[in-house]
Symmetry: C2
């Protein structure tokens, strides 16, 4: 986002629709309004920076023994292929299995079921870039040292679409199985593996009949980490307990309880337990200064 236009709480229209990559002329009002969920003003227009459409793309499914290996693979691939790596989606075995059970027309590329799989997407602006060769070369050392167990590189668009279809149908399969306590969380990439191991163990012990559905964008440090209660919906007490377990671990590992979805009213009171007093008082001071009558999306965020 290069620029935005917004109606401010005092009724003024701020025209910040600049198409500039660099502009060091005072406070960054654009980033302040973005993500404020309308509580500091209503964004009415924006200028987006566009990127060239890739000419070449490649999809692969890669099997790993655990999330720790997926993080190691991410580092290897970023070193080797750089910005060509545009997707890196981790999926747990049970999460894949439920999706395949509910959508029986889907097929995974491996004969053997692996505990964890990563859907990898590469892209290049260069026409006919040899992405399959580049990926195969990048994966060699990971196969040798056991970081990865298996790899299937899509050889055409149909195979690529089949791999993506599994990933894209996870939320729908989860929904059809029952209600979940959902978490859209972020972690430092280096703590993802520890988080999954410890959170899985704590939740298995607290909720022996529930099941963790885990998938996410490892390159962004962003996991969808949900506790699924097949058959019966989680009670408010169960939801509170599951949240408490997950959020305590996120705090310990310096993560975030909302990576993508924001606070809204659902997490407005919760965030007070996780953000520092310094950050909360700065946020309240800014809200009071820009919207003294609290007319902008009241009751949300703050």
């Amino acid at each position: 986002v290069l620029g935005i236009e917004a109606v401010l709480p005092n009724g003024e229209i701020w025209n910040g629709l600049k198409a500039l990559r660099k502009d060091n002329t005072g406070y960054d009002l654009k980033h302040l309004l973005m993500g404020a969920e309308g509580t500091l003003g209503i964004i009415t227009a924006c200028v987006l920076k566009l990127y060239p459409k890739p000419s070449t793309a490649l999809t692969a499914m890669i099997a790993v023994a655990s999330p720790a290996e997926s993080v190691r693979l991410l580092g290897t691939l970023r070193d080797a292929v750089g910005d060509r790596l545009v997707g890196f989606e981790l999926m747990a075995r049970n999460t894949i299995a439920h999706t395949l059970a509910i959508f029986p027309n889907m097929q995974e590329p491996f004969a053997a079921p692996y505990d964890w799989q990563v859907l990898v997407q590469l892209a290049d602006t260069v026409v006919d870039a040899p992405l399959a060769d580049t990926l195969a070369a990048a994966l060699e050392s990971s196969l040798d040292d056991g970081t990865i167990l298996d790899a299937a590189i899509a050889s055409n668009e149909t195979q690529a679409a089949a791999m993506w279809s599994i990933r894209e149908h996870i939320p729908e399969a989860e929904k059809r199985r029952g209600k979940s306590v959902k978490h859209d969380i972020a972690l430092p990439i280096s703590r993802i593996a520890e988080f999954i191991t410890r959170a899985n163990a704590a939740l298995a012990s607290a909720f022996p009949k529930a099941e963790v559905i885990c998938f996410g964008h490892v390159g962004d440090g962003n996991l969808h980490y949900n506790l699924s209660f097949p058959g019966s919906a989680p009670t408010p007490a169960q939801t509170r307990e599951a949240n408490a377990i997950v959020y305590a671990l996120i705090d310990e590992l310096d993560g975030s309880i909302s990576a993508e979805h924001g606070l809204g009213q659902l997490k407005r009171d919760e965030i007070v337990k996780h953000k520092s007093a310094a950050a909360l008082s700065a946020m309240r001071a800014i809200k009071a200064a820009l919207d003294p009558h609290n007319i902008m999306n009241p009751g949300k965020v703050i």
Copy 2:
């Protein structure tokens, strides 16, 4: 910058040292403090995202007839080579010529002097990536349709260093020739050519004995655009007049009077003429709310 730590005006230390790519939990204090030049708090630590070191690099000097052709070339290269394009430095003929005159050991790669030249840098994480072939293929259509006049691709590191040396010695050469009225400006990339044409004409007419020194990072829309007064330093009246000509055009073309260097005290009063009342009043409200006693870098920015 993924996270920062800062001492806030009320004496609290805000620990925002998170290593997260995504964190949607309230107002973006990090971006608010970054670029505030210390007027909202003192940044005492930060977390940086690192990128893999490129394994392969390539430098080239490309001749174009005018800035408009350089912008067209930028678009062609971004489409063709994508994120491999990591440097795109435009230089005017007189700016190169002065540098070569003051540093006579330097040599440009072309026998004929061209009016404008672009120093292009490509990089790739892939080992032994065929960057010269990729660039040559990307330049083919630009040579055919006349967008570029000539191209010299460095065939080793010595040649690459010689090309970069010309660019890097421009500021020193400018300084040795005399005093300048300096402008560190940003423009939408699509308005760069119009800006240079019109500003050059207006300044040549107002200051027949002075000379424009123009070079910059076209990919960032960022120009160093200085009016050089060889022999005698510009008077305060000349400085004001040169600024007025340049800044009026920047306003008309939706640019910024400070791309990289900030406002400090030099541009604190000037910015009031260029920013909207809505933005200025929001900035003042934030400053008053977070630093009511004006103890943080007083007299700067605002």
